[in-house]
Amino acid sequence: MIATIEPELATVCQRDTTLETLLQQPEGRRILSCIQCGICAGTCPYGEYMDFPPRRIISMLRRGLMEEVFQSDSMLRCVACYACMTKCPRGIRLSDVLLPLVKEQTLQRAPEMPAELQRSLQNTLRYGNPMGESSRKRANWVTTSPVPVPILAEIRRPVDVLWFVECYTSYYPRGQDNSRAVARLFNALGIDFAILGNEEKCAGDCGQLTWESGLFETLTDYNMEILRKYKFNRLVTGDTHAYNAFRIRYPMYGFNYELEHTTPFLTRHVEQLKPRLKKPLNVTVTYHDACCLGRRAGFYEEGRTLLRAIPGVKLVEMVHNRMNSLCCGGGGGGMWLDTYFKQKGMDRLSERRIKEALATGADVLAISCPYEVYRFEDALKTLPHARPMRVRDVVELLAESLED
C-alpha cells in the first residue's frame, strides 16, 4: 500500500505562502522536480474537463506563464479529492498547497464568482455556517438527542473529549441524525464529552481548500480563541472536512491538540462497543472512502472495521475503493458548484460514484463524511435504479444496532 503523504513537519507549508514565494520553499522545490508524468491529470475526476490540469499548471508555473492559467477556470473544477497528490511520484503537495493557491488567484480574477459558492462563503463569514442559519440555533439539535449532550460553557469543567459537531450535522435534519447517533455512541461508551454549542463556528475547510485566506483566517482565529477557553484532552469531530482543516492547516495557527475523527475514535473503542451491538441489521453494505479521511489521512480500514462489528452486515466493495476511491464531488467548494458544473456540461461525480455503488448490489451505501449524505441522496434521486439503496453514515448504522 502506498503510504499516505503525512505532514512530517508540524505544518505543510508556511502560513503566508503565496505563489510568488512558493518556489523558494521546500514545497516549491518539490514542484520543480515534477517529471510531467501526467498521473495527476489522469487520475483527476474532472481532468478531462480541464484545460490546465495539475501537470500543465506546473509546466506553466515553471515557465512563468501563470496568468494564462488564471484566465482559465480549470481550477474551479478541482474538488480537492487529493487523488493527484496521493499518486504523485514526486510527492508534490498539489492539493495541500499549489492547487488552492491557483484556485484563489483564479477566483480573484474571475469576472464573477459562481453565485452559489459566493453565497455560501459569505454566509460562513457572517453566520459561521454556509447555510446562513442563525448561530444561536446551532445547538438546538441537542434538545432532540436521546441522551444528554453537555455544553462546555454550561458545565464549566474540563472534559476528556471536546466534540466539534460542525455545520451540516448541527443544522440539517439528516446531519442531525448523525449527531444524535454519535451522542448515543459516546454515551454508550461512557465517554466524558461535551460540545461547544452555539460558540462553535465552521472550521472552514472549504475556505482552506479554496485558499479563501481571509475567510479562513477569520474562522481559525475565532475557533482557536474559543478552544483556548476550555480544557480538554482531545478534540473529536465527525466532520471529515473539519478534521482535515484541524489536521492540515490549523497547526499553522497554533493548534496542537490531540485530534481524532469519530471513525478512528470509535474503532479504537470497537471491542467495548461490540457487546452492545446486539441488533442485527441484515443488510449488504458498501463503504465509500471519504477523501479527507482515507486518501488524505490514511484511515481506510477503520470504517470497514466498524461495519464488520455490526451483526448482520455483509460488506461488499466498489470497483474504486480505498486510495483509489472516487470523490463525491463535494470538496474544495464543490458542494456549492453543482449548478456551475452543470452549466459547463460536466457530469456529477456523486452520480458517477452512485453508479459504482449500485453495481455492487448493496442495500446501503455507508459513508463517514456528513457532506456525502446530501451528495449521494441527491444522486440517488436523479439516477434511476431498480433496487432501493439507502445512504447511511457508519455512526448511524452503529447506533441503529446499539441496544440501549
Partner: protein
C-alpha cells in the same frame, strides 16, 4: 629506521596548492608563516603539487638535509594520498607513521567561500596536526597471508560468471546458491535485449560448466549462515537445506517424478511464479543445475501423513537417492576472498493498489510474461490469458515501483528496454495491439537506441504518460477487459484505453533479506538499499569490507552485459589479492593495556570483527591484532580507559584538539 626521541622532534610542514584548488581559496603563504613559528617545527613550505614526483622528492630531500623526523602534509583527503606521502617518507628512511595529513581541500578549500576564514581554518587544522604528529610513534605494517579459496554467494549470471573465471584460473571456488538450482533471474527470461538471443541458449552452457568444473564446489539449496575472520582468512559456515534427495546418488533421470503418487502436477510451481504446476517431487526446470530433484515436504504425502506408498522410492530403485530422513547440514570452509552476487527481487506491484495486481486476473508482472513467452514455460511459449484466450490489446505500464517517492526513487534501468522487448515479443506471438505507457524512454548502452527504433517501427503504441487508473471496462466487464485511464502528456489529452492484458514493468529492488546479508558480511548499503561499492567510479566492485567484492544487481540495477562485466571485474580483483598472497594490515589497531584492564568484559560483545576475547587465565581482555580493523568502538566503550589505539592515542587526539582550539 630512525626513531627520534620525542624531545628532538623536528617537524617538516608542507602545504599543497593543489593548483588553485587550495591556493585559490586560502592564503597558503600565511599558513606557512603561521606554522613556521610553532614549537617543534623545523621547516615549513608550500608547493604547487606535492603529490607529484618533484613534490615528494622535495620532502625526501628535506628529511635528509634538515634532519626532519616528523612530516605534516596539508593537502587533500588522506583517502586520496595518505599512502603516497607515507611511502615517500618511508623511502627517505622515516617510519611512515611519522607522516600525518591534514585535509584542507575537501574540509576547507572546497567548502568555504570566505578566504580569510578558510585561511584561519587551515591554520587551526595545521596547528592541531603539528601538535599531534609530535606524539606519533613508529608503527609497523603487518603482512597477513591470504587463503587461495574464493566464496561466491549467489548463483545467478553474476555468480556463475565470476566462479567460472576464478575456477578457470585454477582457484578453488565455493558457489553457494539459496535456490535448488543456479541460474537466477536470467534462467526465467525468454529472450534478452537488445539482440533477442535466447536467454537459455547463452546461459545453460555456463550453468553446466559450473556443475562440471573440477575447481567449483557447487552448493545449491544452501545459505551462508555465518562469516567470521577477515580478508585472507574468512571462516564461513554454510547451511545446506535438506532436499530429501541425495545429490550424489541422483542421476537426474526424473523417473521418480513420473512415478509420484500424484498423477497430475497440482501445486503452484515456484520457478514459474505460480503460473504453472508441479508435483511434490520435482526439478525446478529442465536445465536445472545440478540436475537433482527435490521434495517439497509441505506438499509431499509421505511428509504430511507418513502413509505414502512411496512410488518415487520404488522408481529410484537401487540408485537409492531418495532419503526422507535427510537433515539440514552445515559445512565449514576457509576462504580468502568473497564475491557477493546475491541479485535482486522484482518490485511487488501490490504496493501500488490502483494497478489492480492481484485483484484483476488480467494484470501480470513483466517477469510472469517472461514465463508465458518462454517455450519451457507453463504455456509452452503461448501468450494466453488465465481464461485461455490470447489478448488482442495489451498495455504495458513502465516505471512500476520506480522513479516514485512513494515506492523506490531510483530508475531501475532495465525496464524501458525489457518493456520494449516484451512489446515486441507479445506482438510477435499474438499479433496484439500493444500500448507502452512510459514517462521517459531511457536507452543507454550499445545497441539499445537502435532496438528502441526497431520496436517503434514495428508499430508499437508509445504513449507518454503514467497510467493513473485501472478499472474494469464498463462496456465489457464480463471478459475481464480493463480500462486504462492516462493523460497522453504529449497531446495533453486524457485517454481511456481498453486492454485485455495489462503488463506491469516492475522495477528492481534490493532483496528483502539485504540487511541480514549486509550484517553477515559487514557490508554497507546505499540509501536505496543496494550494497554500496567503495567508490562509485574508482572502486565499483569493492565493498567496504576488505576482501569482499560485489557483482551484479545486488550492487544496483543493471542489465546482463553490465552484470557479466562487473562479475568479471570482481573475479579479477579477488584473483589479484590471491595472487599477491598477502594483505597489509593497517597498524592503527586497538590494544589492551593489560595491567589496567579490570576484566569487565564490556568491550567483548561490541567488536564488529569479533577480535576481542577474554584471556581465561588472566581474566583480562585480549585483542587479536589480525582481526582488529581499528574502528575504535572498544576504545570508546572501555569504561576504565584501558584500551588504546595506535595512531589514535588519547594524548595524540587531545593534543590535536587543543592545537585546533588554541588557534580557533
Amino acid at each position: 629506521m630512525r626513531t627520534p626521541r620525542p624531545d628532538q622532534v623536528r617537524i617538516g610542514f608542507y602545504i599543497c596548492h593543489c593548483g588553485t584548488n587550495i591556493a585559490g581559496a586560502l592564503d597558503v603563504g600565511e599558513v606557512v608563516n603561521h606554522v613556521a613559528g610553532l614549537p617543534g617545527v623545523a621547516l615549513a613550505r608550500d608547493y604547487k603539487y606535492l603529490c607529484s614526483d618533484p613534490g615528494q622528492e622535495l620532502i625526501q630531500h628535506d628529511i635528509r638535509d634538515h634532519g626532519l623526523n616528523r612530516i605534516v602534509v596539508a593537502a587533500c583527503s588522506p583517502l586520496m594520498h595518505e599512502r603516497t606521502f607515507r611511502r615517500a617518507v618511508e623511502e627517505a628512511g622515516l617510519n611512515p607513521f611519522y607522516c600525518h595529513m591534514v585535509n584542507i581541500r575537501e574540509h576547507d578549500a572546497w567548502v568555504h567561500t570566505d578566504r580569510q576564514e578558510a585561511t584561519a581554518k587551515a591554520k587551526a587544522l595545521a596547528t592541531g596536526a603539528v601538535r599531534r604528529v609530535a606524539l606519533h610513534k613508529p608503527l609497523e605494517t603487518k603482512k597477513v597471508p591470504i587463503h587461495g579459496e574464493v566464496l561466491v554467494v549467489g548463483g545467478g549470471i553474476a555468480g556463475i560468471h565470476a566462479a567460472l573465471i576464478l575456477a578457470d584460473a585454477g582457484k578453488r571456488v565455493y558457489l553457494v546458491e539459496r535456490e535448488p538450482t543456479i541460474g537466477g533471474h536470467m534462467a526465467r527470461f525468454d529472450k534478452t535485449f537488445p539482440t533477442l538471443d535466447c536467454a537459455a541458449c547463452i546461459l545453460t552452457p555456463k550453468m553446466s560448466a559450473v556443475g562440471a568444473h573440477p575447481n567449483i564446489t557447487l552448493w545449491t539449496y544452501s545459505e551462508v549462515t555465518q562469516v567470521e575472520g577477515y580478508v585472507g582468512n574468512f571462516n564461513v559456515t554454510v547451511t545446506r537445506k535438506p532436499r530429501y534427495v541425495i545429490e550424489d546418488a541422483c542421476t537426474g533421470c526424473l523417473q521418480c517424478i513420473e512415478a509420484c503418487i500424484y498423477h497430475d502436477a497440482r501445486f503452484p510451481d515456484e520457478f514459474n511464479l505460480g503460473l504453472g504446476k508441479r508435483k511434490p517431487i520435482h526439478l525446478p526446470f529442465p536445465q536445472a543445475t545440478p540436475p537433482v530433484v527435490l521434495i517439497d515436504p509441505g506438499t509431499c504425502i509421505e511428509f504430511k501423513t507418513g502413509k505414502c506408498k512411496k512410488t518415487c522410492v520404488e522408481a529410484c530403485a537401487d540408485r537409492r537417492a531418495i532419503d526422507f530422513q535427510q537433515r539440514e547440514e552445515t559445512r565449514q570452509i576457509q576462504v580468502g576472498t568473497i564475491i557477493i552476487a546475491t541479485g535482486f527481487q522484482t518490485f511487488d506491484p501490490r504496493r501500488i493498489p490502483y494497478y489492480g495486481y492481484g485483484v484483476f486476473p488480467t494484470v501480470y508482472t513483466a517477469l510472469e510474461v517472461e514465463r508465458l513467452l518462454n517455450a519451457a514455460g507453463p504455456t509452452g511459449g503461448e501468450v494466453i490469458l488465465r481464461n485461455g484466450k490470447p489478448p488482442q490489446r495489451v498495455g504495458i505500464v513502465h516505471c512500476v515501483g520506480s522513479r516514485d517517492e512513494n515506492t523506490n526513487r531510483y530508475c531501475s534501468r532495465v525496464c524501458c528496454l525489457y518493456s520494449l522487448k516484451l512489446a515486441h515479443l507479445i506482438k510477435e506471438h499474438t499479433g496484439a495491439e500493444v500500448y507502452n505507457f512510459y514517462i521517459d524512454i531511457r536507452t543507454p548502452g550499445k545497441g539499445m537506441e537502435e532496438f528502441y527504433n526497431r520496436v517503434a517501427e514495428e508499430g508499437m503504441h508509445l504513449v507518454r504518460g503514467k497510467v493513473a487508473d485501472v478499472y474494469p471496462d464498463p462496456a465489457d466487464p464480463a471478459n475481464g477487459r480493463l480500462m486504462l485511464q492516462v493523460e497522453d502528456t504529449l497531446m495533453g489529452r486524457i485517454l481511456k484505453v481498453p486492454v485485455d492484458m495489462l503488463v506491469l514493468s516492475v522495477g528492481l529492488e534490493p532483496r528483502a533479506d539485504t540487511q541480514e546479508v549486509r550484517r553477515k558480511f559487514n557490508l554497507c548499503c546505499g540509501p536505496e538499499g543496494f550494497f554500496l561499492e567503495r567508490h562509485p567510479k574508482l572502486a565499483p566492485v569493492s565493498s567496504y569490507a576488505e576482501g569482499v567484492f560485489l557483482a551484479g544487481c545486488c550492487q544496483g540495477p543493471k542489465d546482463i552485459p553490465d552484470t557479466v562485466a562487473q562479475a568479471g571485474a570482481a573475479a579479477a580483483q579477488a584473483l589479484a589479492l590471491i595472487v599477491r598472497g598477502y594483505t597489509e594490515q593497517e597498524p592503527n589497531t586497538a590494544y589492551v593495556r593489560e595491567e589496567d584492564c579490570s576484566g569487565c568484559k564490556s568491550c567483548i560483545p561490541l567488536c564488529p570483527y569479533t577480535a576481542i576475547s577474554l584471556a581465561a587465565d588472566k581474566q583480562k581482555a585480549f585483542i587479536n591484532e589480525a582481526l582488529c580493523k581499528g574502528c575504535g568502538v572498544c576504545v570508546a566503550a572501555c569504561p576504565s580507559g584501558s584500551i588504546g589505539q595506535n595512531l589514535f592515542e588519547d594524548e595524540q587526539l587531545l593534543s590535536e584538539v587543543e592545537g585546533v582550539l588554541t588557534y580557533a
